[in-house]
Amino acid sequence: MSNTADVLATAENALQPRTAAGPWWALLGRVAANRAALVAVIFIAFLMLVVAFGPWLAPHGYDEQFRGAENQPPWTRMTIEYPENESQAGLQFFPLGTDSNARDTLSRIIYGTRVSLAVGISATFIGLLVGVGMGLVSGFYGGWIDSVCMRFTDTVFAFPSVLLAVAITAIFDKPSLWVVFLALGLVGWTGMARVVRSQVLSLKTRDYISAARALGTGTVRILFRHILPNCLGPVIIVATLSVGGNILGEAGLSFLGLGVQEPYPSWGAMLAEARENYREAWWLAVFPGLAIVLTVLAFNLLGDGLRDALDPKKQQ
């Protein structure tokens, strides 16, 4: 008879989550097989490049003003009447036109990509921490802890999210990007908490958890080594979808004047500026708006693609 310690060690090993590259590559393959998700991945990679190399890609600075070239329509080539420095002399090209402060729209959109993606991803990360923590505790402990956590989640969910984020930004005196991260993260964790909780509720009754418990594994280790890795699929889906939601949220807060402050551009702030004169200068609203729509769409399509790829019912 093999000794008991050996059996226990093998059992403990078997309980470890698999970390081999296999399942991840398989997942990637299934996502890539979905054409919409593949296009989305390529677009997101392109956005990452724009974020990384923005200053080199942008034809002009985000706050560079070309006096005399206010509100030029897209595809304008013109000589600046009053060049402020040497680089402005000669023929200038504005592929997406200029705004009422005579700044190049394309350059501002390129710099705005940084704000959108930074907020989208960081706020998702904050939401992930709060939501996963809340969901794990709520689902695992159950009882009155669960009731309190879930009532709290319901209350936050019930609140108009934009107004809640506005209220959080109002607590701080000066609007800044950090406040936006925090506000969106603190508003957007409810979906994650519910998903994680429902996963935990079903996982904690499984035999392998009882086995881990019988081996004397501590609660924290069970939560983080045995339960959390098995929630990863739904967590990744919800996180991807919430990147899109947070980009929309940032655009909304900026639209209300609470995000990044002038002269640094953000897509939502560009739309807010455009409110003044977009009826005459349509490009000021259309291009930043399209940037938002396409980016959010890409993250949503990727999230949908991941959902299909991770759905056991759809696997052949």
Partner: protein, 303 residues
């Protein structure tokens, strides 16, 4: 039924008390509103006078106790009763929200059912593509685009201005209606497709029921529960005021009132607004729960 209603109403009381307490505590922590209301050069005496006129010099339990007596007080800024300010905003918002939801329910259910009736066809794919766009568009951008097309370019509608007249509300209604249509269409399609693969649907078809009839009389009633839930929460969210759409279309709705109150630290209006949201949310949930019993006889409220 009556006991169910009574129990739910009793259960909502702690929610209201909690919201008043949390709002009150947060607002007290967020600083003295006189700093924003008084001019920066105001003397200490002038500030004290403002504090007295706003009732801020009274002990905190008196300031808090007022809310529990059902008195929302007056706005710090506009010196009008908070209740009437909120009701004025809510009246405009309700018009927009209810009309938008009617559009969304009709179009969303129709296109979702159409997709589910002919899955994986051009109709389904184009409807899915439009829905994907619909859930990715910021409301304020859609409102601006609709204004550009229908008010500026085609000249069919007036340019938005702060007015609650119907003709100025068409663009915000269309905006919110279309956005919610996209969400409902997606939901309806997904729920219906899951339902259509159930055994009882196959049985009905095997018994010779036509495909359309099977879908409408067998599968559709079974997806009404999730759909009603979403319609209820969406309508509640819309009634809470769509700040962004209201800002983009400059309509004086509830979202604007509360947004302005937050930026101006107008505490009584903020608390009043939060309470109003809570009432809307609790009512919407209650109505949805009551509908469950009607839509699905398996759900009973008496135990």
């Amino acid at each position: 039924m009556a006991t169910f209603l009574l129990r739910r109403l009793l259960q909502s009381i702690p929610v209201f008390i909690g919201i008043i307490l949390i709002c009150f505590a947060l607002l007290k922590l967020s600083g003295d509103p006189t700093n924003i209301i008084a001019s920066p050069r105001a003397t200490a005496a002038e500030r004290a006078k403002i504090r007295e006129s706003l009732g801020l010099n009274r002990p905190w339990y008196e300031q808090l106790g007022r809310y529990f007596r059902g008195d929302l007080g007056d706005s710090y800024r506009h010196h009008r009763p908070v209740f009437s300010m909120i009701m004025e905003g809510a009246a405009v918002t309700a018009r927009v929200a209810v009309s938008a939801m009617c559009i969304a329910v009709c179009l969303g259910l129709f296109s979702g059912l159409l997709s589910a009736y002919r899955p994986r066809t051009m109709i389904d794919y184009s409807s899915a593509a439009i829905s994907s766009f619909g859930v990715s568009v910021p409301a304020f951008f859609l409102a601006m685009i609709l204004t550009l097309i229908f008010a500026v370019h085609l000249n069919w509608l007036p340019i938005p201005r702060p007015d609650a007249d119907w003709k100025y509300l068409i663009i915000p209604i269309a905006t919110l209606g279309l956005l919610n249509t996209a969400m409902l269409a997606r939901l309806t399609r997904n729920c219906m497709l899951a339902e259509m693969s159930e055994g009882y649907v196959r049985t009905a078809r095997a018994k010779g029921r036509g495909p359309l009839r099977t879908m409408l009389t067998h599968a559709f009633p079974n997806v009404l529960v999730p759909i009603t839930t979403v319609i209820g929460t969406d309508l509640a969210a819309l009634l809470g005021g769509a700040v962004l759409t209201e800002t983009a279309c400059s309509i004086p709705g509830l979202g604007r009132v509360v947004f302005q109150a937050i930026s101006e630290r107008d505490h009584p209006v903020i608390i009043g607004g939060c309470l109003f949201f809570a009432v809307i949310f609790v009512t919407a949930n209650l109505v949805v729960d009551l509908f469950y019993g009607v839509l699905d006889p398996r759900i009973r409220h008496n135990e």
